[in-house]
Subunit: 159 residues, 2 copies
Amino acid sequence: MKTDNKLSSILHVILHLAEHNQAMTSETLALYLKTNPVVIRRMMAGLRQAGLVVSVKGHGGGWTMAKPLAAISLLDVYQALGAPRLFAQGYRQEAPQCLIEQAVNASLDSAFAEAERQLLQKFNAVNLSDIAADFELRYQQHLLTLEHSAATAQQSKQE
Amino acid sequence: MKTDNKLSSILHVILHLAEHNQAMTSETLALYLKTNPVVIRRMMAGLRQAGLVVSVKGHGGGWTMAKPLAAISLLDVYQALGAPRLFAQGYRQEAPQCLIEQAVNASLDSAFAEAERQLLQKFNAVNLSDIAADFELRYQQHLLTLEHSAATAQQSKQE
DNA sequence: TTTCATGTAACTCAAAATATTACATGATGT
DNA sequence: ACATCATGTAATATTTTGAGTTACATGAAA
């Protein structure tokens, strides 16, 4: 199956949006995903309805965050996207007559339902600010790496 | 994405096979799924390699279980199928340069990895004999229902 | 009133699971 | 031997669904 990438995509986009601190157009945001602005609008439509972002038409318009990142959970975003399918596994028949198939489906159902519960709970526990904080860490680490390689280059120059 | 139904399908099939207690052809098994015998062979190929079933060619040939149901876990079957993808969610880029996207992926990764671990653990804890036992329960319940509706019919006849 | 931006429907494209076709291999029964 | 039955598997077609594209409507700002 082709995977659904909306969640990962829109998170990427709105974290950039939040960093930017002013309205950004669908076209600009589309550059981050190397995709078409319409794809951005389609995904953002759900977030707008959920009150996570605001859109403004016309000159100087575009998208802005409606809430601080700390007030938005991964679960909020997931649900705003329309709660796309989590699992790639399905049943051949949803409501089979065959009692064996019923027993099989019940068994799988229970396993997947439990996993889904846990996953959504985790989504609920993670705020976008947590991800932004992780980005900050990575950024500081990145700066250190640059510094270090600059120092190393300087050193090898002197040798 | 079109869901992957191999796990549910093959479980259905091999439970019928186990019930039957003698070799069954791919053609017969295909009837349970209303599909093509080749589809059965393709899925069963993995189970054969894993030593869960045995196939015999020619007259009177077909498929038989190689182990008792109690000795086969859901995990065994899942892995014998080639461990098909569990989640429908993916990342736009596997190894992104963008630090924001890296942070997003790391966050999702952790959530999905945890869910996968739990799911496989559950698969490991369920044996096919558990599912067969559940089928038996459903079957007994079904018989009771038939009896009851027969009694009701008899009763309404007398009225 | 022109330009910029979103809102959305309709259509096309692409990827992946499943189904089908075709033919090879091997075992059994006559 | 050889006809028949059954699996083994490659190649191809079909189907589903996420993503991309085109087209046009709506509304706000210069």
